[in-house]
């Protein structure tokens, strides 16, 4: 019982190989490939798809969904979900537009801030229901999805706010470009980078991953779980509020039905972006790429003169293709890594790899399309 022997030396590093591994393991690889395919093929068929004006439109189109996807990621990482975002967007869009139309004296930044606060409040309701009252997130936010929309309807009472009612300075926010990049896309980009950095480099951000990865262990590790979950929901709500004003500025015509049903688009973007729906892994970059892919598909179909009746089907098929591609790539990469490690035992062991075939006993099986790549989300 006293023999002291070590296992084979495992921790050695080999710079070049490690870099290749790193690239191969990048969580978002599959979706980047899918994006490349989409733009490549569409551009080849119709080069106007790749013109500056067209790319600018696609960026603009994806800005709002991308921002919602970033917010949703915060929540999904903690093993929760927020289905009520679309209703929050609607509420905030209508509220903002109404203030702008009926009280032209209120400065635009104040209105924007107000919408963000409104969204944050909605998020706080969700957060308290989930974090403090322990209502499963899906149930809670399905409930508030109906409830917030109900408030929106009651508030609007059939009223519509039109472009002519809102100040020109506000509407131009939805269309203006800075250095050739649309302002809305820029806002979304800044949000993306800030949230991405926070998730990767702040203790609070890492704690969100920890909570989603193993909620009970998070409590034992002394993480203030409740506070973090509420914070995630509040942040998501605030982003949805911001997305709401962006919506009003972009589309100009606002009534109580704004963004109805968009929650599924957002969840789809997040899932396609490789964020594990059961929490603990995935990045906001992936989610944003997912949003870009989804809007890219819609735009491509519109440009490709695809028969209108077939669009929905093709949209669904491409979405599935993207998920499958991502998964297959992940399996291939993992299998290749395992084989190589076998022939080169000095490589550190990575036992999180998925098996060649899905296997319920395989830790990766239950997780997202491609777990078993990088461990931490950044």
């Amino acid at each position: 019982m006293t023999a002291t022997v070590t296992r084979t030396e495992a921790g050695r590093r080999d710079g070049g190989r490690r870099l290749v591994d790193r690239v191969a393991r990048v969580r978002e690889l599959g979706i980047v490939v899918a994006l490349g395919l989409l733009f490549g093929v569409t551009g080849a068929v119709n080069p106007s798809f790749l013109t500056y004006a067209s790319l600018r439109d696609i960026l603009l189109n994806s800005a709002i969904v991308a921002m919602l996807a970033v917010g949703q990621t915060l929540v999904v990482i903690t093993r929760n979900v927020d289905l009520s975002v679309s209703s929050v967007v609607g509420l905030s869009a209508f509220g903002g537009a109404l203030v702008l139309a009926d009280h032209p004296g209120v400065p635009i930044p104040v209105v924007i801030a107000g919408c963000v606060v409104l969204g944050a409040l909605c998020g706080a309701v969700n957060g308290l229901l989930v974090g403090a009252a322990k209502v499963p997130a899906l149930v809670a936010t399905l409930g508030t999805l109906y409830a917030f929309r109900g408030i929106d309807f009651a508030w609007a009472g059939g009223r519509q706010v039109n472009a002519a009612d809102m100040p020109e300075g506000f509407l131009s926010l939805g269309a203006r470009s800075v250095l050739g990049v649309p302002l809305l896309a820029l806002v979304a980009l800044v949000v993306l980078l800030v949230v991405g950095w926070m998730l990767g480099n702040l203790r609070a951000g890492r704690e969100l991953y920890a909570i989603g990865s193993n909620p009970e262990a998070a409590v034992l590790a002394g993480i203030r779980v409740r506070r973090r979950i509420v914070a995630a929901f509040v942040a998501n709500g605030a982003l949805a509020g911001l997305a709401g004003v962006m919506w009003a500025a972009r589309f100009g015509t606002v009534d109580a039905t704004v963004a109805t049903g968009k929650e599924l688009d957002v969840v789809a973007a997040v899932v396609v972006g490789g964020v594990a729906i059961f929490g603990g892994s995935g990045t906001v970059y992936g989610a944003a790429l997912g949003a870009l892919l989804l809007t890219g598909i819609t735009s491509a179909l519109a440009v490709l003169r695809v028969d209108a009746l077939a669009q929905t089907a093709i949209n669904g098929a491409l979405l599935l293709a993207a998920i499958v591609l991502d998964r297959v790539l992940a399996l291939r990469v993992a299998a290749a890594l395992r084989r190589r490690r076998f022939h080169d035992p000095a490589e550190p062991d990575d036992r999180a790899e998925p098996d060649d075939r899905a296997n319920p006993a395989d830790p990766a099986y239950r997780a997202d399309p491609a777990s078993g790549r990088t461990a931490d989300g950044s």
Binding site: L129, A133, K134, V135, P136, L138, V139, A140, L142, G143, T144, L145, Y146, A147, F148, R149, G150, I151, D152, F153, A154, G261, L264, V267, A268, V271, V272, A276, I277, F278, L309, A310, Q311, T312, A313, I314, N315, G316, A317, L319, L320, I323, V324, R327, V328, P354, R357, A358, N359, P360, A361, D362, A364, Y365, R366, D368, P369
Partner: protein, 327 residues
């Protein structure tokens, strides 16, 4: 922890039952036109499709998966029915084909989930669009309405105040409840929903069971499509848009855990009825639609919140039962 859950579940069904009875009594006394045969009959009939799909959705969610494509499968099946009817096939031949289409849709979901190990939420969001899109491809913008009266009247027929369609629901509910709560397969479903890996280690054929659950879900969706088409005498590609959320909401209200492994069919059926009764009574009472949605949302949240708050409150007041009691 788990003992607590089990007790909550028991309490939960109790809660839903109390609510159901309470709302019904209130509506019978306070709302004109609620407590008469034709309204009750209509109310029951109106929950048919949701009830049918909720049966299999319960099984799927207990197995820790989800099927968001049910409403689209329903739409596709309707479109197939319409298309074949236009092509002149006899309706008796079309119906089995529709069920087959539903089975294929379910099998497609099932294969992607079990063979590739993809999360079912992602897969069925994809097929949600795909199946609906195929319905449009199939039937385009046509509406097929000249369906055989023998069948359309059968779909709305009733024995006393009980619609025939509800009898169908009742029979299938008994089958599903027996399956889930009294057979080995049901035990396996609960186990794999709670801990898939342990179930696999215990020899449960995890993948096979999941696959067939998705198939069942598809078949049930197309069965619901038959009821839907005949009931409304209209086959269109956009039939049943948005029903999936209603089904999921009913299942969750019925106390099924979205994380799998927990939930009962009686609870779900009561929840379906509760939602139907509330809607019907409120509409009859001329409550505005926005309030209706608000109430639906509130009901969903409150049904979970109430027992939780109770537990939190008891913990505050007496630290003695802070942990979980075994008794």
């Amino acid at each position: 922890m788990a003992a607590d859950l089990a007790r909550t579940a028991r309490r939960w069904e109790g809660l839903i039952l109390v609510l159901l009875v309470g709302v019904s009594v209130w509506a019978s006394l306070g709302v004109d036109g609620f407590a008469n045969g034709s309204n009750v009959s209509f109310l029951l009939l109106d929950t048919t499709e949701i009830a049918l799909m909720a049966l299999t959705m319960t099984l799927v969610i207990v197995a820790a998966e989800i099927d968001l494509s049910v409403a689209s499968t329903l739409g596709l099946s309707c479109a197939v029915l319409g298309g074949l009817w236009n092509a002149g096939l006899p309706i008796e031949a079309i119906m089995p084909i529709c069920l087959l289409v539903g089975a294929l849709c379910g099998a497609f979901n099932g294969l992607l989930v079990t063979r590739l190990g993809l999360p079912s939420l992602a897969v069925t969001i994809g097929t949600f669009a795909l199946f609906r899109g195929l319905a449009y491809v199939m039937l385009g913008d046509q509406a097929v309405a000249d369906l055989p009266p023998a069948y359309t009247s059968l779909a709305t027929a009733s024995i006393g105040p009980i619609p025939l369609a509800s009898v169908l629901v009742a029979v299938l509910a008994v089958v599903a409840a027996t399956l889930l709560h009294a057979t080995g397969l049901g035990r396996s479903i609960v186990a794999l929903g709670s801990n898939e890996e342990a179930a696999y280690f215990a020899g449960v054929r995890v993948k096979r069971i999941k696959f067939w659950l998705f198939v069942a879900s598809g078949v049930m969706a197309s069965l619901a499509s038959l009821v839907y088409t005949f009931r409304y005498a209209s086959a269109r590609a956009d039939n049943g848009v948005g029903l999936e959320l209603a089904v999921v909401a009913a299942v969750l209200l019925g106390g099924v855990s979205i994380f799998g492994g927990r939930g009962t069919l009686p609870g779900v059926l009561m929840a379906v009825l509760l939602l139907g009764v509330v809607r019907n009574a409120l509409i009859l009472a001329d409550v505005a639609n926005e309030v209706l949605n608000f109430v639906t949302g509130l009901l969903l949240v409150a049904s979970v919140l109430a027992p939780n708050l109770g537990a939190v409150w008891r913990r505050r007041t007496s630290p003695q039962v802070e942990g979980k009691s075994v008794s």
